[in-house]
Structures are given as structure tokens and as C-alpha cells.
């Protein structure tokens, strides 16, 4: 089952957060991990609004070797990221200097993957596993 929230404006972040929190708490995530999940959703959705204009946030549950997890996929068909390495490094911009944005999301999640092609768009996939 995949929950899909279109992101067209900043206000749409709210809906994605609702879905994310509901799913995370349904899977038994601690309240801190729920907070981290919705924070990741917010940062990713914010990037969509900021850099691509529109896109979507997809949420799905994961099971691996008896563990429960949540996958967040942020997908857009925007301009893409020309320099991925730079986008994932600190200090490229003030915000990233503070560890926010993509590097920040990478740190609060357990798994992180990014695919991006100039003019074709960007897909960020992150996972968080329930602490055992």
C-alpha cells in the first residue's frame, strides 16, 4: 500500500506530515522517531516546493527480516540537481551549513538514496526502521 500526497504548495506539507505521522505511529514508532519521520517529510517536501515547484511524497511500509520500517519517496520532475555531490555536502549553502536539507535528512534516517538527472527531475528515497 502506497500513500501518495501531491505537493504543489507549501501548505501541502501538512497533509504529507499527517499521513507520515499516522503511518509511523501505526507501525509502533516511538514519539521521537515519529517526529524525525515527519521532519524528514517536511524537509523533502520543502525542497520540492522550493526547487521543483511540484511533485509528490509517497509513503509505504517496509518489512525486512521481521522488522518494520517506513519508506518515504520524494519525487519531482523539476530541473534536477546538477551537482549531486555538492548538494549532499555541508557548507554549500547557509542552510546546509547548519545540517538541514538533504544532508540533514540523510542523518535522521537509516537509509538514503537519491536519483537525479538534469531537466528530468529528482527522486529521494529514505527509510527509517522501527527501533527494536
Amino acid at each position: 500500500m502506497v500513500l501518495c500526497t501531491p505537493i504543489r504548495a507549501y501548505g501541502d506539507i501538512l497533509e504529507a506530515r499527517k499521513q507520515g505521522r499516522a503511518l509511523a505511529s501505526e507501525l509502533g514508532f516511538s514519539s521521537i522517531d515519529c517526529t524525525l519521520v515527519v521532519t524528514a517529510i517536511s524537509e523533502l517536501a520543502r525542497n520540492i516546493v522550493l526547487y521543483a515547484g511540484e511533485g509528490e511524497i509517497r509513503l509505504s511500509r517496509e518489512r525486512h527480516l521481521g522488522a518494520n520500517g517506513i519508506t518515504i519517496t520524494a519525487c519531482d520532475h523539476g530541473p534536477g540537481i546538477r551537482d549531486l555531490r555538492n548538494a549532499l555536502q555541508e557548507g554549500g549553502s547557509t542552510l546546509r551549513g547548519l545540517g538541514l536539507g538533504l544532508p540533514g535528512v540523510r542523518r535522521i534516517m537509516d537509509e538514503f538514496d537519491i536519483q537525479s538527472r538534469p531537466t528530468r527531475g529528482t527522486t529521494v528515497t529514505v527509510k527509517k526502521w522501527k527501533a527494536t
Binding site: 506539507i13 501538512l14 506530515r17 499527517k18 505521522r21 514519539s31 521521537i32 517526529t35 524525525l36 515527519v38 521532519t39 517536511s42 525486512h64 527480516l65 521481521g66 522488522a67 555541508e90 547557509t94 542552510l95 547548519l98 545540517g99 538541514l100 544532508p103 540533514g104 535528512v105 542523518r107 535522521i108 534516517m109 537509516d110 537509509e111 527509510k127 526502521w129 527501533a131 527494536t132
Partner: protein, 335 residues
Amino acid sequence: MEGDVATFETGILADEFGREYAGALERYLAAGGEAPLLAAYELGRQGLTGGGGVLQIVGLHHLALARLFATGEEEPQSAARAISRAGEFCAESMSTFEMTLRAIGETNIALRKLNDTLEEEVQRIALALHDDAGQLMVAVHLALDDAVRGLPADVQGRICGVKALLGLVEERIRDLSHELRPAMLDHLGLVPAVEFLAANVGQRAGLNITVTSTLKDMLPPKFALSLYRIIQEALANVRRHAHASRVQIQLGKRGTLMRCVISDDGIGFDPVVTAKTARPGLGLVGIRERLNTLGGKLRIQSGKGRGTKLEITAPFVQVKHADSNPPRRRPSRSA
């Protein structure tokens, strides 16, 4: 006192940020829902990017909460519930700070690894200087001996002069190698190694460097090496910036602390101005970073025209550094 608290409270809650925070918290306690939590995340993010601090937001949170309670007539049970829900709200506002904190942790680990890499590199260079260059020098000596055989006495005399110069080069290279990776640190301990360093640096830079010590114990090797590097860095700073003629290095023990004082009679600097305006001297940053890994402290006393005194203290018992909380990964079969 009460007046102070009241002023602080009206100050912090009166600005727009404070009002928004208090408003969102009130909405969350009244009706719950995701919208006020989104506001909390946004406000925390704004606070962070606007240069605000954690303490400011936590302070704001508690004042806002206290104000809500002061006006309401809560039953103890519902009060407990409200406080716990307020905690959720507060956590939401702190989530961006959590990202920053993790970034700093990662940076520290990277710095430490870089430091280890540099240390390995220095040892490699020291070894290459000592062994490779040393052997080449021996070969040059032998070749020269071979070449002068049968030559007129005056040519032999001149070559002898060249050999004497070569001898000096050899000595300089050996000293440099020992300075870079002082084997005597392992064999004889910190004090002889620092004396050797002081003699060499003093000779090169025209400085009168004295070393006094009341240390008796052998220090753990890593600890001694860190202190050696710190003193090396401090002497490099003196050479580069201080225009000093005399330097004193005092090594000693104070209780459970190792104490090292390095003072010079140079031009000094204004620590306050330097901290605010100048690019922080890489030397001091390096010293601080090394001290951090030892759990030590650096105190700087200086002033224009008053020389500079660095006081370094570090506990003999080393503080173990928790390297990191490695992020949880995909659960493995063995787990």
C-alpha cells in the same frame, strides 16, 4: 527578582516569534492536530536559521506553557496530560536542531580521522627522510671518496669542504626527521623529546627556548604524542607571529592534571579583538581540537606588547571519546 522574570517574560513573549510559538502551543493543547506541530517545526527551523539558540526556544516554551497554566484552572490529571502533549510540541520545534547536532558530531569524527591521517602522513615523511635520504647521503659520501682518490691535494681539500657541508645537510635532515616523528618520545618520554624540539626550533628561528619540567612519570604514548604536537604547534605560532626572543616551556603535574605553560616575550595580541575580527588562527584551532580529544583545556593570556602565555591542562586519565552513535541500518540477520 520577580521583576526581572516578568520583564524577561514579556520581552520574549512579546515579539512576533514568541507570540506565534505561544499561539501554536495553545492551539495544540486545545485541539491537537498536525497544523500546530507543523508550526512548531517551522518556528524551530526559523529559530535555527535566524541564529537563535536552543536555550531561547526552550525558555520560550516553558514561559508560554507557564502562562497557559496561570490562566487556566486545570485539574492535576489534565495538567499532566497537557504537559506531556506540550512535550510533543517542544520536540517538534527541536527537530531541526537535532539535524544540526548530528552534523556537528559527524564533522568532529571526520576531523579526528583527518588528524589520524595527517599523523600517519607525517610519520611516513619522517621515515622517508630518515631512511631514504639518509642512505642516499651515505652513497654520496662514498662516491665522493671514490672520486677524489688520486686527485691533487688542493682538489681533495675542496671536496673535503663539500663533504663537511654535506654532513651538515645530513644532520639537518636527521633532526627534522626526529622532530617530525620523535622516536625518543617512545623511548625516553616527553621531556627529552620537547628539549630536543626546543633546541632545534631555537637554533633555526634564533629563539632562546628553555624547558623546565617537574614531570617524573612516563606518559601514555598517545597522550605524550598529542602534547608534543601541541607544543610543536605553539612554537610554530611563536615563530610565525610573536617576534619573540625568549620562550619558556614548563611541564608539570597539578593533581590529576598535566599542566604545560608556554610563554613568550613577543608582541602579544588582543585575544578579544582577534577572536572577533581575525580569521581564527589555524594554530590555535589545531591546539584546541587536539585538547578536545584529550579532554583538556587551553587558556590564553596575552595583550598588545605583553607577550603571550598559553596554559594547557589535560587530565592524565584520558577521557574516552564515544566516537558516534552509528545510525541504525537495515536490520541484519545476526541481529
